[in-house]
């Protein structure tokens, strides 16, 4: 039996020990890149992450439990381009070790439970077919039932063409639970990473209560070549980059990788799940302070308005009651 020394592997460095940064062309030592969360130490370029690297980055160690790991795509159309779809799926499974382009599960960020879904661009361009849509819909539904925040990290070219309109309808399937999260008072946070385009951006990814993005991530509806080819216009500087979306009002913050876990944790603290139903008034964390003061203010304002313009303003309630204004003549 050969004797193994713990330090022996350090001598034979692997051939691909270096990676060239596509942004600044600097050669970066791979281990340095890994230590730096796969961010170029020279220019700050954010390399793409696998779902595994993303989990390690965002979640408390040992907190993640994957759900629906065995959920995978079928080939509903018998799709065949230059290669059969089933072969492409198999190749992607071997390459990534994933069953599908998304995983979801329950984990913790600074001790707070969240339902989190993550897309992996390496699995067929992170494209959303029936299985990815089903996983994300279940992620949102579990957030709803367990009353925990939902977080999705995107990296996707869009809907998966090989499943035709079944993929297109995943836009609606993943969006349908979101109004229910709204009604139940469950926060939904999206982190857009490079690249997020097409159908994924045109559904749940644009609909977060808070939308964060990684620096310089490509984020857009149509490919940049399509955009310039269609209109013949010069594309604006930094077109479809995260900074472009921030300046146009579609992203809340651009967050560098080292800040992401802390930023999510802060959002989870400052945007808590609403108390269920009538617990609103009884919750000691909320019954006093700004909300109590505001509702008192609303009553005073309502009274004042009634006096001034002869309209009875009923106090606004939660759970679907909207503020109702009635003309005094019609009121009893």
């Amino acid at each position: 039996m050969p004797v193994k020394f713990p330090f022996s592997r350090r001598r034979n460095a692997p051939a691909d020990a270096w990676t060239k940064c596509p942004d600044c062309d600097q050669q970066v030592f791979n281990r340095q890149l890994a230590r730096n969360l796969r961010v170029c130490p020279t220019c700050g370029h954010h390399f793409r992450l696998s779902v595994g690297e993303r989990l390690d980055l965002l979640l408390d160690e040992g907190s993640f439990e994957e759900r629906d790991a065995g959920l995978e795509s079928l080939d509903p159309l018998g799709f065949h381009d230059t290669k059969p779809y089933v072969d492409r799926l198999e190749a992607a499974r071997i390459k990534t070790g994933l069953n599908e382009a998304a995983i979801w599960g329950i984990g913790q960020i600074h001790g707070r439970r969240v339902a989190i879904g993550i897309l992996d661009f390496r699995f067929m361009g992170g494209s959303m077919g029936s299985a990815v849509g089903e996983k994300l819909a279940r992620c949102f539904e579990t957030a709803l039932v367990e009353r925990i925040p939902a977080i999705v990290v995107t990296a996707s070219g869009g809907a998966r063409m090989q499943e035709g309109t079944l993929s297109l309808l995943q836009l609606a399937k993943t969006t349908a639970p979101l109004p229910r999260l709204d009604a139940a008072g469950i926060p939904f946070i999206v982190l857009l990473t490079d690249p997020t385009t097409g159908g994924v951006l045109a559904s749940f990814a644009s609909l977060g209560d808070v939308v964060l993005a990684e620096p310089k991530a490509l984020i857009g509806f149509a490919g940049a070549r399509v955009a310039s080819g269609t209109t013949g216009d010069e594309l604006p500087e930094g077109f479809q980059r995260a900074e472009f979306l921030l300046s146009h009002g579609f992203v809340d913050q651009i967050v560098t990788r080292s800040e992401q876990r802390a930023t999510l944790a802060r959002l989870l603290r400052t945007l808590p799940v609403a108390p269920a139903d009538d617990a609103w008034q009884e919750d000691p964390a909320r019954g006093w302070g700004p909300i109590g003061a505001l509702s008192g203010f609303a009553e005073r304002l309502g009274g004042a308005v009634s006096e001034t313009i002869g309209i009875d303003v009923e106090p606004a309630g939660r759970n679907g009651d909207r503020p109702v204004a009635k003309h005094r003549e019609e009121a009893p």
């Binding site: 065995g70 995978e72 065949h80 381009d81 309109t165 559904s203 604006p236 146009h248």
Partner: protein
């Protein structure tokens, strides 16, 4: 190669024939059909945010005397009208106008009827600046929760997100020669076959005809077209659509509001085909023990806790493909 075969030539030709019919320049457009189906159609304009998009039209109307809201894509019939209508490719202000009309329909309790006829949403830089993706996403979201019955009619091309933004409903009807797809056959051929010559094969492979969509459960009812196709007789097409819409509305209105929304949710939720294999969840072992943490600190071999990035490591190779 496994046993999967390319579609046979007759299937390819049939699919392409349908695409050509769906794109026929004389095919009746939304504004041609509205006066033939409804009474007192009143077009409303503008999204109250930025502008008015001529690629989407809509407003209140009467269907057999009942107030309804109608919204549809509007293509032109020749180069001039197509330029005016942006070839039926809506911009964000079009989808936001549609949302405004949907909210009005909800406020007044009017059923909503939408007509799809678009190759896709406008992919231009200006549309992008005004949030094309957000406009489509919020339209879809609004339709999933809109508290009035929704009937969707696919008139010609149901192209991708631009169609789905007005295509979420309680029943989806399609004209016999309509098509519905996740991406245009041209786009699909360019990305997957990397050649524009395979556009017909792409059309067949995506199974985009109305009959295919019925089999996939995306479309509920097919409306027969007169003669050689809808372009031969607009009036007869309108009559067929009206009969089908009234019948669909009758079926939907038997449900109460709560059951209507529950049914719509269940319909969307059930779309898609997947399997659940017995592969158990990849549950991580408990948080690292003191021994593991100490071992890791001292770089002792064999005691380092596994990390998720070792189960699913990253790599440098990224193919930009397979998405729409």
């Amino acid at each position: 190669m496994t046993g999967v075969l390319a579609p046979p030539p007759e299937v390819v030709e049939e699919a392409w024939r349908r695409v050509m019919l769906a794109r026929h320049p004389q095919r009746p457009r939304t504004l041609d059909l509205l006066p033939l189906i409804f009474e007192e159609v009143t077009e409303l304009h503008g999204d109250r945010l930025f502008g008015d998009d001529p690629a989407i039209v809509g407003g209140p109307a009467l269907l057999d005397g009942h107030p309804v809201m109608v919204i549809g894509h509007q293509k032109g019939n020749d180069t001039e009208t197509n330029i005016e209508r942006n070839f039926g490719s809506a911009r964000p202000e079009g989808f936001r106008k549609a949302q405004r009309l949907m909210r009005l329909a909800e406020k007044l309790g009017m059923p909503l009827i939408t007509f799809l006829d678009t190759a896709g949403a406008d992919p231009g830089a200006a549309a992008e600046e005004r949030g094309q993706a957000e406009a489509i996403a919020s339209s879809i979201k609004l339709m999933t929760e809109l508290q009035v019955p929704i009937v969707v009619v696919i008139l010609g091309e149901g192209g991708s997100g631009g169609a789905l933004a007005m295509g979420v409903g309680d029943e989806v009807l399609a004209l016999e020669n309509a098509v519905y797809s996740v991406i245009s056959p041209e786009g699909c051929a360019a990305i997957l076959w990397r050649s524009p010559d395979d556009v017909r094969t792409a059309a067949a492979a995506m199974r985009m005809t109305a009959q295919d969509q019925l089999e996939l459960g995306v479309v509920d009812v097919i409306i027969s077209e007169p003669g050689e196709g809808a372009h031969t007789d607009h009036a007869a097409t309108a009559r067929a659509i009206k009969t089908a819409v009234v019948a669909a509305m009758g079926r939907i209105q038997q449900r109460g509001l709560q059951s209507l929304l529950a049914h719509r949710y269940a319909r969307l939720r059930s779309i898609g085909r997947y399997q659940e294999t017995v592969a158990g969840p990849r549950v991580r072992p408990e948080p690292p023990s003191l021994r593991r943490r100490l071992g890791r600190l001292l770089h002792l071999p064999g005691v380092r806790a596994p990390r998720w990035s070792e189960i699913w490591p990253g790599d440098e190779e990224h193919d930009l493909e397979d998405g729409e």
